[in-house]
């Protein structure tokens, strides 16, 4: 029904005679993958060949309302969501002058180097960008974005200010949760000179996540606050409730056409929450031989759960109140807290080797092999093979 409505709305847009100039563009990333061993799974793939985790199809309609004002809607269907078509972007852009424009509505949050063109597989060399950095739960924001761009001498540079709110599904301790980021403010800068480019972004927002099981657990813990002073602090420190989240990103890129190297680093912190401090980075390099682009990437993601372990360490593992039920309940809560804190640690890395073949402008074939390694648990190691087609028009 949602899809039908969306298509009708699109058709309505197309038929509206008031909009003089309409551009329709589209993209398709059909990506199939499988792990090479029976009991391995990674990034949503297992040993059965599957198109769902990363395949994306999209259609964009843009209409010029006037010289200064345009409206853009992007209808996207993802394999991971059963190809249910959704308006992921719907915004209006006003061109203030040659350097500034303002967009408002639902738009892409420019968190990473490849955020803007994340769904346009054709625009980068991998089938999918490194999961260590790009595997996050949200990429879009409801709000306002101001874009500035200019040049000086041989340098081209730009800045973006993005403000708004994000609501999305996430997971806390392995179970689904509703994530809400309020009062998000992000500032990014980018500069390019010939073959060199760099960008950075700083963002902060008020972070909350709602998950019934987890909230029950946190309430249970804080109920012991009278008997165990540190329990209140631990409950506060575990809950994800109006906590300040900060995000930092930096990327550099050297592209001499015959060869290129690039690197990106991100750091995420949500103070006073169960979410562990996260650092991720990758380096990538490739060469272009006519239509062939072989490339290699090394990526690392680490989450430090020291804060969470510290909260647990300040708690007694057992108490003796004289009431056996209370004592047993606390022992259960403590075990839960210790388990959740331990789960937040992350130490994974991956090497990806791939080949892109440009069939014609707008159409590329690719294959990537990823060796994924979990340094905390070898049982999660996996080798992933992906093949796919990127198309854009």
């Amino acid at each position: 029904m949602k899809t039908k409505l969306a298509i009708l709305t699109m058709a309505g847009l197309l038929a509206t005679p008031a909009i003089a100039d309409i551009q329709i563009n589209g993209f398709a990333n059909l990506i199939g993958g499988m792990t090479l061993d029976d009991d391995e799974s990674v990034y949503g793939y297992d040993s059965d060949f599957n198109f769902d985790p990363a395949s994306v199809f999209g259609l964009q309609v843009r209409g010029d309302v006037s010289d200064k004002l345009s409206a853009t809607a992007q209808l996207v269907g993802r394999g991971s969501e059963d190809y249910d078509a959704d308006f992921e972007w719907a915004y209006m852009t006003y061109v203030l002058n040659n350097n500034f424009n303002i967009s408002a509505g639902r738009l892409r949050m420019p968190l990473f180097k490849y955020s803007a063109s994340l769904d346009i597989g054709y625009s980068y060399h991998w089938l999918t960008p490194p999961d260590a950095i790009y595997g996050i739960d949200f990429n879009n924001i409801d709000g306002v974005r101001v874009d500035y761009m200019n040049y000086s001498g041989d340098w081209e540079y730009g800045a973006q200010l993005t403000m708004g709110r994000v609501e999305t599904d996430t997971t806390i301790s392995g179970t689904p949760a509703a994530l809400e980021l309020k009062n998000v403010v992000a500032v990014s800068f980018e500069a390019t000179r010939d073959w060199f480019s760099a960008r950075t972004l700083l963002a902060r927002g008020t972070t909350s996540a709602v998950n019934e099981d987890f909230d029950t657990f946190v309430e249970g813990m804080s109920a012991f606050g009278a008997a165990i002073p540190n329990a209140t602090a631990a409950a506060e420190g575990f809950s994800v409730n109006d906590d300040t989240g900060t995000f930092f990103e930096v990327a550099v890129d050297i592209d001499k056409y015959d060869w290129f190297v690039g690197a990106e680093f991100t750091q995420t912190e949500v103070d006073g929450s169960v979410i562990a401090d996260n650092k991720a980075w990758y380096v990538t390099a490739g060469m272009r031989f006519g239509k062939f682009t072989p490339h290699i990437t090394y990526e690392v993601e680490e989450a430090d759960n020291g804060t969470q372990l510290g909260l647990v360490a300040a708690l007694p593992s057992t108490i003796s109140t004289g009431d056996a039920v209370t004592d047993a309940t606390w022992a259960f809560v403590y075990q839960g807290a210790a388990g959740i804190a331990a789960q937040q640690e992350l130490d994974v890395s991956a090497v990806t080797v791939g080949l892109r073949y440009d069939v014609e402008p707008g159409f590329a074939l690719k294959t990537d092999v990823t060796w994924y390694s979990d340094d905390l648990n070898d049982l999660n190691d996996a080798t992933l093979l992906k093949v796919g087609v990127n198309y854009t028009f």
Binding site: N25, G58, S123, Y151, E156
Partner: protein
């Protein structure tokens, strides 16, 4: 021997046919390679004088198109497609409209004081001003 020289001359004339960047005769701006490249890659929206610029491209398959993309924009057709796909799908810009022939580009530029285009240098006539050849 003469024939060989003639043949070599013919071959190379075709291969290095110059591309002329043209503007309306009323446009007095001086433009170098970088500033032309910026206008055609959505990085600058106006001529140095401040007049808004409306770039006009030539369709793929025309000889001047590859020359211009390679010599002025420093991009292959695939690179240019990737470049524009990033801008189009982020709402940052649309590629210039591509016209079918040198004659179409010349008449579009001759009729629009804001226009800038490129054609095979051999096709240029008095209705437009050549700002640079490559």
């Amino acid at each position: 021997m003469k024939k060989w020289i003639l043949a070599a001359g013919l071959c190379c004339n075709v291969a290095i046919a110059d591309v002329a960047v043209i503007v309306h005769p009323s446009n007095g701006d001086a433009l170098d390679k970088d500033s032309i490249s910026r206008l055609f890659l959505n990085k600058a929206k106006a001529f140095p004088s401040g007049t808004p610029a409306q770039p006009v491209a030539l369709a793929e398959g025309q000889s001047a198109t590859d020359e211009f993309n390679g010599k002025v924009l420093n991009k292959t057709a695939a690179q240019l497609t990737a470049f524009w796909s990033k801008l189009v799908f982020t709402g940052k810009g649309q590629p210039p409209k591509a016209l079918g022939s040198d004659a179409d580009v010349i008449s579009a530029v001759a009729g629009n004081p804001s226009a800038i285009g490129y054609v095979d240098a051999g096709a240029v006539n008095d209705s437009v001003r050549v700002v640079a050849t490559f």
